[in-house]
């Protein structure tokens, strides 16, 4: 999966609990993204980063925060998990050069909020 590791791969948590998902890349790509995938909705962008400490909101950012302190790591935090955040979360990376850009995705984290 293009040098992208997501952890954990599966997590079950309770409503109101904070949760952090980690994405680690070995490609030294500038851009990193968090998407969620739900049946009938396709993939939706949560947050993305265009460099260390540079982040921006996506389409469905409410209830999520992100941090990027190193090029290789991008963290997604659910401050207080809700059942509506049960989903499969995918991290993606891209070079950010603007030429023949494409996203490379990790294997995903299955999160269940009970």
């Amino acid at each position: 999966d293009a040098g992208i590791t997501q952890s954990p791969r599966h997590k079950v948590t309770e409503t109101g609990t904070p949760v952090t998902l980690r994405c680690h890349q070995t490609e030294n790509h500038r851009y990193m993204y968090w998407y969620r995938q739900d049946p009938g909705h396709g993939l939706r962008l949560i947050h993305y980063s265009y460099g260390v400490k540079d982040t921006d909101k996506g389409e469905v950012s409410d209830g999520y925060s992100v941090s990027r302190s190193k090029t290789e790591d991008f963290l997604l935090t659910l401050e207080s998990a809700t059942s509506s955040q049960t989903s499969v979360y995918f991290c993606a990376i891209s070079e950010g050069t603007g030429v023949n850009e494409k996203l490379f995705f990790g294997s995903g984290t299955q999160l269940s909020v009970l």
Binding site: D1, I4, S94, G106, S107
Partner: protein
């Protein structure tokens, strides 16, 4: 508002039975249209990028085409290993790279 609609939702094919998947889109200026393949339990895998109407790209049994309002993914003489969900996504010209609008996908099952 940018929208991407894929049809059909699901497609069952016999091995060797060619077919096409549709991706219709509305976007305020198209920077690129992307096709991805997704296997169960895995992340999407990049297939093609199309940039302008009339463009075509091919890879093995897959061929993607683009018009001003839709894209087609043609699967010629499919094999069981072509079974997957195929995702279409668009990027608007005003958006940052990677801010893609995805369709819900077409699940393709190819039986021997």
């Amino acid at each position: 508002e940018d929208q991407v609609t894929q049809s059909p939702e699901a497609l069952r094919l016999q091995e060797g039975e060619s077919s096409s998947l549709n991706c219709s889109y509305t976007v305020s200026g198209l920077r690129g249209l992307f096709w991805y393949r997704q296997d169960p339990g895995k992340g999407p895998e990049f297939l093609f990028t199309l940039y302008s109407a009339g463009e075509e790209k091919e890879k093995e049994r897959l061929k993607a085409t683009l018009t001003k309002k839709e894209s087609f993914l043609h699967i010629t003489a499919p094999k069981p290993e072509d079974s997957a969900t195929y995702l279409c996504a668009v990027q608007a010209s005003g958006d940052s790279w990677g801010k893609l609008q995805f369709g819900a996908g077409t699940q393709v099952v190819v039986t021997p």
